[in-house]
Amino acid sequence: MLYYLLMALSSLLSIPAIYLAVEERDLVKAVIFSAVQSTLYAFLYYLLMAPDIFLTYIPVGVGLYTALILILIKKTERYESD
């Protein structure tokens, strides 16, 4: 019961994180919201009994994607125009 409740909670909390990541004009803030979404998905993978995906997804989704997109933003432009 608690198990399924946590699963539904983490997937429901990922909806506003994704919406804010898509709508945000400052790209650094968008990347941070994307990292929050990745953390929630990693927790969901753990609850869905996929420990190997959990161990792979934490460094790739939270670490590597965030670091690479931040390097890309540093080399290009930070704000998205209208």
Binding site: Y3, M7, V22, E77, S81
Partner: protein, 131 residues
């Protein structure tokens, strides 16, 4: 069991909502970097949906697809078959995550090269410029 099914349906439904928001981001946002962020979110959501397909409602709780008793006794194998989740989607998703990382790296270097040549990452400005 009714409440568990309802909560699990919330998970599936929110995955489809996330897919819709990520596709909206890919198609309508002008910045190439925002398109890359939306693409990573979309691929993660599809991977999660594939893992959700392999999940099963076992009583009292499902167990990870790892055999811990070697050599396994027949009683342990019966418990394992009745309660473990499906490992095949997990193996496929593990491959898809690594391939997705390579694809995103390629798109990032393409974006960097577009910025070096055209001086902008806005697709509307890039489509107007020539040469």
């Amino acid at each position: 069991m009714e409440v568990e099914s309802f909560l699990f349906n919330i998970v599936i439904l929110s995955m489809f909502v996330n897919m819709a928001i990520a596709l909206y981001g890919i198609f309508t946002r002008p910045s190439l970097i925002k398109k890359i962020i939306s693409l990573t979110i979309f691929s993660d959501t599809v991977n999660t949906l594939a893992i959700v397909v392999g999940f099963r409602h076992a009583i009292p709780n499902p167990i990870p697809p790892v055999v811990v008793e070697i050599p396994p006794s027949s009683q342990y194998l019966r418990l394992f078959v009745s309660r473990a989740v499906d490992p095949l989607p997990q193996a496929l998703v593990l491959t898809a995550i690594v391939i997705g990382l390579a694809v995103v790296l390629f798109l990032m270097f393409t974006t960097l090269q577009i910025y070096r040549i055209y001086g902008t990452t806005d697709v509307r400005k890039v489509s107007k410029l020539r040469g």
